[in-house]
Structures are given as structure tokens and as C-alpha cells.
């Protein structure tokens, strides 16, 4: 099932294979829209046919325990829920995270500054001025997609990814901010480093962050 001509300004709902349905909200990446995704997540999680939910950035994937017979019925249910549910506000916890800005572990700081037409110091100031919200966890274990980046320092992902970016690297990918969860290849721009362990499978809960948590960065050191 798949909408060949989605309604303008309406959500796009599509099947990925026979057991996964992707709901994509229309419009910009705003916290309000993400809160509606969280509301949809809670509502869909109560369904007995849903085995797993993967919230994304203004989207939600539903993985069913068995393939639905009539995907269209589920799509209608989702559309109705999206239109009627209020935003879900999650109080979340506040994390204050110290960042070692710049230097070898934040090697893309100059590139971000160039792209923004600002000085590296201004980029750093804008980065730790705001409060960020964990919109979704994904990609790697415990990685949080953060909303709240000042649009002035939004920077597209790199054409050539870094081959071995350290876990804990503070990054910018488009309008999204993050802290890398694993050491490995990464296409986001690194601007600094934070000493946090985002995931431990033997900890309960295993992920440090949960959706709705808020993050404030502060400069621990600055190396320009």
C-alpha cells in the first residue's frame, strides 16, 4: 500500500515490506510536531498488533507482529489519530553536559563556522546557548536525535564521512544535533567532545537518554 498522490499538507503513510508501516508527518521539524509523533507512538503502542515502534524525526515506524491484511485500514486509523490526538508533553530529565569544544575531536568546527559565516567562538556560543530535546533514539544504540539547534549553525552532513569518529563526539547533522554513541564512521560535523556513555546493555534502562529528555551543553574547554 502506498499513496501515489499524497494529500497536500497531509501525512504520508507507506508500507516498507509487509510488516512495517511508516507514518511521516507533514511540515517542518518542530518540537510541536515531534510531540504529536510521541502522542501517536503512545496510542499505537497500545495496539495488540504492533510489535515494535521506531520513532524517527517527525515520523514513526510501526512494525507489526504479523503482516496486516488490510494496511489501508491501519493507515486510516493512523491518520485519524494524528488529526485528533493532542501533543504529548514529556517532562523528561535535564542533562547538563560539559563539552571540550574544538581541537582534534571537534575538527569540523572551522567548516561549520565557514558555512554559517560566523567565527568558531560564535558557533560555540550558539551551540551551548540553547536547550535541546531528545526527539528520538536511533541509528546506533543510545544515539539521540536532538532538536533545538540554532538554525544559524545548521550544517549539512559531510559528503565524505569521517572514518573513525570517537563515541562522545558532539555533532551537527543538518538541523539535528547529537552526541555520537559509538566509535565509527560518521557523516555529521564534529565540533567537540563530551565524556558520556550513552549506552550500556547491562544497565537498566540501557540508554542514558529517553525521548523528551532535555540537554544543556556547557563549555568545559575551548580549543580554537
Amino acid at each position: 500500500m502506498h499513496d501515489p498522490a499524497p494529500v497536500a499538507d497531509g501525512p504520508v503513510i507507506s508500507m516498507i515490506g509487509t510488516r512495517a508501516m511508516l507514518f511521516e508527518a507533514p511540515g517542518d521539524f518542530t518540537l510541536g510536531r515531534q510531540r504529536r509523533i510521541w502522542a501517536l507512538m503512545e496510542e499505537a503502542g497500545a495496539r495488540s498488533d504492533v510489535a515494535e515502534l521506531i520513532p524517527g524525526v517527525t515520523n514513526l515506524m510501526l512494525v507489526f507482529s504479523t503482516p496486516p491484511e488490510e494496511p489501508r485500514i491501519l493507515a486510516d486509523w493512523l491518520r485519524h489519530a494524528w488529526e485528533t490526538l493532542p501533543e504529548r508533553h514529556i517532562a523528561g530529565r535535564l542533562f547538563e553536559i560539559g563539552v571540550q569544544y574544538g581541537g582534534a575531536l571537534g575538527e569540523d568546527l572551522a567548516h561549520v563556522a565557514d558555512h554559517a559565516g560566523l567565527s568558531p567562538a560564535e558557533v560555540i556560543a550558539l551551540h551551548h546557548a540553547g536547550e535541546y530535546t531528545v526527539c528520538a533514539l536511533g541509528s546506533a544504540p543510545g544515539f539521540g536525535y536532538l532538536h533545538g539547534l540554532d538554525p544559524r549553525i545548521a550544517t549539512p552532513r559531510k559528503a565524505v564521512p569521517s572514518l573513525k569518529m570517537l563515541a562522545g563526539t558532539v555533532t551537527i547533522g543538518g538541523m539535528q544535533a547529537g552526541i555520537s554513541a559509538l566509535t565509527g564512521p560518521n557523516g555529521w560535523n564534529s565540533i567537540g567532545f563530551a565524556e558520556v556513555a550513552l549506552f550500556d546493555p547491562l544497565r537498566e534502562p540501557p540508554a542514558l537518554f529517553a525521548i523528551g529528555d532535555r540537554i544543556r551543553f556547557y563549555p568545559e574547554s575551548i580549543e580554537l
Partner: protein, 333 residues
Amino acid sequence: MITILESPALNTVQDLGRPGYRQLGVGTSGAMDPLALEIGNILLGNASGAAGIEVQTYPFVLRFESACSFAVTGIEAALDLDGCAVLPWAAVHAAAGQVLTVSPPRQGARGYVCVSGGVDVPVVLGSRSTQLRGGFGGLSGRPLEAGDRLAVAGGPALSGYGAVPPSVVLRRPCDGGDGVVVLRAIPATDFHLFTEASRARFWDTEWQITPQSDRVGYRLKGEALGLERPVELRSYGIVPGIVQVPPAGTPIVQLADANTAGGYPRIAAVIEADLWRLAQARIGRRVRFRPCDHDEGVAAMRPIAAYLDDLRMMVGLYGASARRRAPRAAGAK
């Protein structure tokens, strides 16, 4: 207990995967060919979620430190047990101290060494599967190496019978002699954003499996596909089988160790019923996608379920008759 004597690279402990943690960013992992693992477990009377060893590089050599039953599934390959040839897709008895050598396969890519009771490693987040990226699950979250020891949960079970491989039982008319693996795929979210020529080419091309293919995904080679206009997508959930097209234009089929989220345009998804065929296709093989709709994708699981049901019934009957023939010896603990 078994001891690994030789394991070239990237051979890991896997079960049917770790569902339920994708919202924390943890992919499912699990056997690339879950059907082969299930067959091994049925042959040994194991629970269907029992863990086995997924072998991707050969020769793979291990020693049984205590008597147990085992089955090697997924591949057609020469198997040697202390100088005696044994068959794949069969339950075989091994005495303590015997050495099993799995040679490079004649057919298939991933072999599953299943043992009675399953490989007993700690359950992490609900599964024994190795999560290579996260570095947990399986044996200390890493591939097996010579010298590693793995606990076997069971003792000797019934042996001396086998299964007809799924490549024979589930053979389709399209599985011709041309060596092209046909994968049924359902058009996905962004299919209509590709140019008309690209959409046609997606189905018509014999894509070649590149060496940059592994448990994370298969990267395919062929003439690049293009979008009508560039799109910038927000990160969305990934499931095994999804076919993404990065800016370079050649498709990637995401598989068991895929990230839980991604951002490339989605052209299609290989149906679940055909993922084992892809898992058994080696680097250099050619694959072709064949369009399929939701109903056909759902129906395609039925022959697989029927095959497994038949096998369970056969193993059950064999077990019952063995117990009648030798009431004291059979089912020895």
C-alpha cells in the same frame, strides 16, 4: 563445550534476533538466514530461538569437548568429522574430542553450525545474538576466534536423519540456471520520486553483489538510479529488506545488522520470504528485483511455514519411532 580451532573472520553466535529495542537504537541482529537456523534447531529438537554459529568465512574448525548432536545448515559444503564425511542439513552425533571441519561451500554463503540445546552464551537484552556494532551479545560482542570456548546447552539428541534443503523444496519457476537470484520486492515510500527510466531500470537490471556487502547490508553494482529532483529526508526507521538509494545511485539492501534509522530515499523492500535467498547469495552473484504487491508478499511466507511444519512433523515421527525401537537408548540425556 566446544572449542573453536579455526575461524577466519566475522563468524558469530546468532539466534533469531533481538526485537524490541529498536526504539533505543539497537538493531535486531540475528541470523541472516533465519530459515536455515530454524531448520537446524528443528533437526536437533531445540527451541526455535536457540542460538547457533553463523559461519561466513571458511574453513571453520571446532572440537566437541563433550558428546553432542549437531547439524550444519544453510550451505552445501564438505563437512569432515574426524576424517569421516558427514552431510549438511542432517542431525549428526559427535563424540567427545571429535573435530568438525566446515569447508568453503559449493552452494550458499552462510552456514549455521547448530548444536543440541543451542549455544549457551548470556542473554543480553532478550537475545544471544552478537551485536557487532554495539559490541555486546554473543561471545563478548565480538566475532569468534581460535581458542574460544562455547558452552553447549544440551547433550546428545537423536541423529541420523536430515532435511531436504529449502533451495530444493522452495524452488520457484524463476530460479533458473542463469545464476540470477530473483528477489520479490514491494515498491516503497519514495518509489515514485525516481525518474521513470530509473524505476524501469530498477526492475530490469541484473544487479551485482559488491564486495562491500556484509551483515549490515548488500551494496549492489549497476547503472545508477536517479531521482526526479533531490530530496532531503529526515531520519526514519529501517527494517531488514529495505532497499535504499544513496546519492551515488546504486541500491543498498539493508539487512540484519542495519542501523535502526537512516535517511536515504527508499525505492522498495525485499519481502521477508526472500531475505534468506539474499543471505545465501555470495559476493559477485547477480540479483534481480521482481515487483510484488502486499498480498503476494504475505502469501509468500506460507510455503516457508508449511515446509517448517512438515519438518517438525517428520522429526516428531522419527523421534517417536526411535523411542519405540529402542526404549532405553533413545532420548539419552
